[in-house]
Amino acid sequence: MKKIIALALSAVLALGTLAGCSSAPASGSTAASGSTAASGAAAEAGELNLYTWEGMFPQEVLDAFTAETGIKVNYSSFDTDETMLAKLETAKGGDYDVVIADDYIIETAIAEGLVMELDKEKIPNFGNINPLYQGQFFDPENAYTVPYGSGVQTIVYNPDLVDIEIDSYADLWDASLESSVGITSNFRVMNGMALKMAGESYNTDDVAAIEAAGAKLLELAPNVRLIKDDNLQDDMISGEISAGVMYTSQVTLACMANPDLKVVYPSEGIGFGIMAQFIPVNAPHPDAAHAFIDYILRPEVSKQCFEYIGYYCTNQAADELISEEFRPFLTLPEGFTADNMEMIQNVSAEAMEAHTKVWTEFRTACGQ
């Protein structure tokens, strides 16, 4: 009997431990009618290792790509940009052919020499990219990346549950919103919100400014019900929170589920981010990678992709194809340009430490 208990307990322990680290990168590979190794795809280019977050492409698009080119797509996923960079570093820029990640981490990846310069001859559709999303800090010459979706930090609220009119970040501090605000758990975004209110830049290296923003943020604590990155829109839809600061894809999902929700572009300033595709420097199948990037840039393919992921469409040629239902969510509002929005970039180690300290204090205060 004792042995059984011992066995059972150790099994339980092992299971418990495993459950904690729940990264499930199982590669949902997409092998369509694989036998037809099409002419363009040489034996060497018969495969493509795609590495990005889960759910970045509709299955039909990947299947159609395989059917047309004969290139089999092996989709593996990461949960955070940092995991991706660590893996790419270990693989010395190999193993993967196309990676899609966030702007700031790509800047680091390029600086570490892990990214291959694009051969634009092989990407005839390069011109389809909306120039608004090009030439940004992470790739000023557009030499390494092709944008794949963009988003801005947005406030969403449910007018049925909120008594006030919200049009700025400052309104979230209103006492009537006690214990009903949901925010993302990205501290650069949230501390940045308080920085913006003080008229500072997201990317200030001034520790005193960050600490002042932290003090402001502490006053928000009684209103915060939830801090969460993934699927914050679910809590908005279920009524768990009545106002929230979220990413564009979450806004799209929330508003599709409940059209009564109000979307607010905070008056203090707009923060925005770009996701982009790049080819690691030692990619095993660079030709397939270029072919894939070009394929995704086709207007009709882009349309499918962006309607699926719910981010702002970065392909200018696809804009007009996007259906009415999605258009308000997938195209940037009039008058928004890279000049009046700000991107979150890497800051000094000192500033980063101030950010984490401020954030930990804030989170603790929210739980009190």
């Binding site: 940092e82 019900r225 009524g239 603790t364």
Partner: protein, 292 residues
């Protein structure tokens, strides 16, 4: 590692050592290796944006002494103690009465205890979200019974976190108490009763004493994991209860400050090791009841 003092006179003996080598290698490589790496890392300096610079510093440990970070240790202890006390209160009687069941029922109860583990603990946590959320199962039940008239905000609160912790760790306590109550000689209790002890006195002087090792190992088995189960606090508490584990994850994945994360882990491990040695001191045992 000590070399055996007895000379290896028989061939048999040396062949045993050969078969053990893979085990030692495995342990060295996958247990000791990462620990040493983490220990070394905790004395290094973070690079400006990404990675680590090989430069000795004690700053990572000094950093922990800042009130905001020390507080995460306090929070972790507070939560661990709260949940362990509740688990004792529920798990001890459960294990005790389970040991008194007939053999057939013992097996059935054991099976029922094990079945939840066939599902990932994360999925089971999401089950609690469905119960706790606004207009969820519990709200509907309470409102249906007329006890409350509007949805309570139960999810993303401290009690929700405690419930999640108790739920996740209760089995360890039950099984530990059960295993020591099961092998107890019940005739001792009868003897105490024959000699005039009241049931309560017999329980306190005989049963409790004999099952104490089980209870204490149950405490260890629940207290230590609850120091680390930060994902429960994150999911059911809405990221508002900052435990050490959660801080380590933040430092590692978001702040890119690996040395600080390593220093936090080292301190956490030292604290938990102290707990275990304290347990050994109190109970004079070298093994955890219910495990070996």
């Amino acid at each position: 590692m000590k070399t055996p003092s007895v000379p290896l006179k028989k061939k048999k003996r040396s062949s045993v050592w050969v078969t053990l080598i893979p085990l030692y290698l495995f342990t060295l490589l996958f247990v000791a290796g990462p620990l040493v790496y983490m220990f070394v890392l905790s004395f290094q300096t973070r690079a400006e944006v990404w990675g680590v610079v090989n430069q000795f510093t004690l700053d990572n440990y000094k950093n922990i002494l800042q009130p905001v970070y020390l507080n995460t240790f306090v929070e972790s202890f507070k939560l661990a103690i709260t949940s362990t006390l509740l688990i004792c209160a529920i798990g001890y009687p459960f294990g005790y009465f389970m040991a008194k069941l007939s053999p057939a029922w013992k097996k059935r109860v054991m099976l029922l205890l094990m079945i939840p583990f066939w599902t990932s603990s994360l999925i089971r946590l999401y089950g609690w979200i469905i119960i706790f959320r606004a207009n969820g199962t519990l709200d509907k039940l309470l409102m249906g019974l007329g006890l409350t008239d509007s949805p309570l905000k139960l999810l993303y609160t401290y009690p929700a976190v405690v419930v999640g912790m108790v739920y996740a760790l209760l089995q360890f306590m039950i099984l530990a108490v059960y295993s020591s109550a099961e092998k107890m000689d019940w005739s001792l209790v009868e003897a105490a009763r024959d000699l005039g002890a009241t049931p309560l006195k017999a329980f306190l002087t005989v049963t409790l004493k004999l099952t104490l090792p089980g209870l204490l190992s149950g405490v260890i088995l629940t207290f230590i994991p609850s120091m680390g189960l930060f994902f429960i606090a994150d999911i059911l508490g809405g990221n508002k209860v900052v435990l050490v584990g959660s801080l380590i994850q933040d430092q590692l994945m978001k702040a890119h400050n690996w040395p600080f994360a390593a220093a936090l882990s080292v301190v956490l491990m030292i604290l938990t090791s102290l707990m275990i040695s304290l347990y050994k001191r109190i109970t004079h045992t070298t093994e955890l009841e219910g495990i070996l």
